[in-house]
């Protein structure tokens, strides 16, 4: 089996308050290079908190999150930011593009914090847009693109640095069925080419497309199912 790119060991996340909220209540999980994993669960099951922890955007209350083998709870802001810049790609449900920049400039920001020179960023961004089927829309302003196109730009931005793993939070959540299906096909295609992808979703159709499905309920992992290859 390929080496693990992401590992969670007994991870808990507790937000203080009365009563305290515990969206992630002890999850252990290993994602290996080349996998396409769907994390499935209803609203409030802890999916987004899990993604934030896996993306190094938040730190666990207890347990350990290892990105590329390094436990993030012991890293400085600078080192953790470095892991996000070099090892991870994130796709948000709301796309989160910079509307006043063109498609290619948005994708290029995926390499901004790696210290890649501007010209090289644009060349790689162009190639990434080609890969997601938006080669003809590079100069368009992000604000002028359709929802499906915006999500493809967001995926290209996550892919452009060839990260160890791409984490996608409800990537089809804001898209109509047909566009969502096309996007799902794109994710499968990227996975076949070797990209490790973790998709967070509450949509069983999306989850069904993944060879490995993890189900969460009340902050716990209740099911980890692999389809026979």
């Amino acid at each position: 089996m390929n080496p693990p790119v992401l590992e969670l060991r007994g991870v808990r996340k507790v937000y203080p308050g009365t009563p305290p909220v515990e969206p992630v209540a002890g999850i252990s999980l290993t994602v290996h290079s080349g996998e396409l994993v769907a994390v499935l669960g209803p609203s409030g099951s802890g999916k987004t908190t899990l993604l934030n922890l896996a993306a190094g955007l938040d730190r666990p209350t207890s347990g350990s999150v290892l990105i590329a083998g390094r436990p993030i709870e012991r890293l400085s802001d600078r080192a953790l930011s470095g892991l996000r810049a070099h090892r991870l790609g994130v796709v948000f449900q709301q796309f989160v593009l910079l509307d006043h920049l063109s498609a290619v400039e948005n994708v290029a920001t995926g390499l901004l914090y790696r210290g890649v020179p501007a010209h090289a960023r644009l060349v790689k961004a162009s190639a990434a847009l080609d890969r997601v089927g938006l080669g003809g829309r590079t100069k368009h302003l992000a604000s002028k693109l359709s929802g499906g196109e915006r999500q493809r730009v967001a995926i290209a931005r996550a892919l452009v640095g060839a990260p160890d793993v791409v984490l996608a939070d409800e990537p089809t959540g804001n898209l109509d069925t047909a566009t969502g299906a096309a996007l799902l096909a794109l994710l499968q295609d990227l996975n076949r080419d070797g990209t490790t992808i973790v998709v967070i979703t509450h949509d069983r159709t999306v989850a069904a497309a993944a060879p490995r499905r993890i189900e969460l309920r009340d902050g716990r992992l209740v099911h980890d199912h692999r389809s026979p290859l």
Partner: protein, 395 residues
């Protein structure tokens, strides 16, 4: 494998907010622009006007002293001892001394038909022939009183007096009526900046004054040129030299003191206006801080995205801090241009040489940048310490 933002990318990243919200950026730099413009124009105008005053003082010379009787009622010249011109001339450090005497009740008219009350304030003075050189004066026309001319009814008109009487030259020659007698105008003076009382007088010789108007030989005002470096010492010697019996009654003044006072007054107003400029700058800085706080609130999602893409807290802080420094610097640059424009326009209007002290321009820009940095510090730190998950929640 650390996160890294290239130096060449800092400015493009920091100007994203400015490029997308141009109107707001323009308004937010207005306060700083006004502050720096005020600073530069106040310092520039002060320097330009002072340069003009200093040039005038230099041209006039600071070694002219005027001796008068300090006891007389205001505006009326009282007599000094008859020998005072001679004793002053013998004082150590004195280069020249020239006596004049206002002849009381005597005025100069264009002709004998003008009513006695309509003299326009033009006085008649007895003067000695050395007066012109002592005052460093110049003639616009004709000649000054000489030894022989002093004996006869000949007059030299001060600049204002000649203007008032409508006499431009000595061709003719023109005659003037001194109330009791006709006098021939033999010369007209150019303006004397340090002795305006001469400008509106008709000067006649002392012997003629004695013969025609009973002048008793007591001068009322003596002009003294000193060795420049000894002017201060001589000033203190003159009262006793003038009237050994009653030195306290003698008043010695230096006419360039009035110009010096104007220099000092200009300095005092400069301080006041600089204070106001500083307040405008401060208000501008608060404006920038305000705009930056709003920008951080509005751009939470962008901050979250940048953190997700690998930006460190330092990168986020740098982005917002550089943005506000750019606002300050832009305000400062515009302020220098605006202030410089004001200085050039006013200097042109006043016929001064426009001077902008380099320190004012450099200091103004530095102050604007500092104001931008201070105004941006708190918003930048707020942006940097915004947890990425919280920032992205608003997406």
């Amino acid at each position: 494998m650390n996160s890294r933002l290239r130096a060449a990318d800092v400015i493009p990243v920091a100007t994203i907010g400015l490029r997308t919200r141009r109107g707001r950026a323009a308004l937010s730099i207005l306060g700083v622009t006004i502050g720096v413009a005020a600073l530069v124009s106040v310092l520039g105008l002060t320097r330009s006007s002072q340069a003009e005053l200093l040039a005038r003082i230099d041209a006039l010379g600071t070694n002219l002293l005027i001796v008068a009787n300090g006891v007389g009622a205001s505006g009326v010249e009282s007599p000094l001892p008859a020998t005072s011109a001679v004793t002053i001339a013998r004082t150590d450090g004195v280069l020249a001394a020239s006596a004049t005497a206002a002849l009381p009740g005597l005025h100069v008219y264009r002709n004998d038909r003008v009513g006695a009350g309509r003299h326009g304030g033009l006085a008649v003075r007895a003067a000695d022939p050395a007066l012109l050189s002592t005052l460093d004066g110049e003639l616009a026309a004709g000649v000054f009183l000489s030894g022989p001319a002093s004996l006869y009814p000949a007059a030299v008109l001060g600049y204002d007096a000649a203007q008032h009487l409508g006499i431009a030259g000595v061709a003719g020659p023109p005659l003037v009526w001194l109330g009791e007698r006709w006098y021939t105008v033999i010369g007209v003076l150019r303006p004397l900046e340090l002795a305006p009382e001469i400008d509106n007088s008709a000067l006649i010789g002392q012997p003629a004054a004695a013969k025609d108007f009973g002048y008793d030989g007591h001068p009322t005002r003596i002009y003294v040129r000193t060795e420049t470096e000894r002017t201060f010492d001589v000033r203190h010697l003159l009262p006793r030299a003038t009237d050994p019996q009653n030195p306290v009654a003698v008043a010695v003044s230096r006419p360039t003191d009035a110009l010096d006072a104007r220099l000092a007054a200009a300095d005092a107003t400069t301080g006041l206006f600089l204070g106001l400029s500083a307040i405008a700058l401060l208000v501008g800085g608060i404006g920038i801080a305000n705009v930056m706080v709003i920008a951080v609130l509005e751009r939470r999602t962008e901050i979250g995205l940048r953190r997700a893409l690998g930006a460190t807290r330092g990168h986020v802080a740098t982005q917002f801090l550089v943005e506000s420094v750019i606002l300050g610097a832009a305000g400062g640059t515009l302020g220098i241009l605006l202030g410089g424009g004001v200085v050039y326009a006013l200097a042109y209007q006043q016929n001064w040489q426009p001077l902008i002290p380099p320190a004012a321009a450099v200091g103004g820009l530095a102050a604007a940048i500092a104001v931008g940095a201070l105004g941006g510090l708190y918003p930048a730190l707020r942006a940097a310490y915004l947890p990425p998950t919280e920032a992205l929640r608003s997406a």
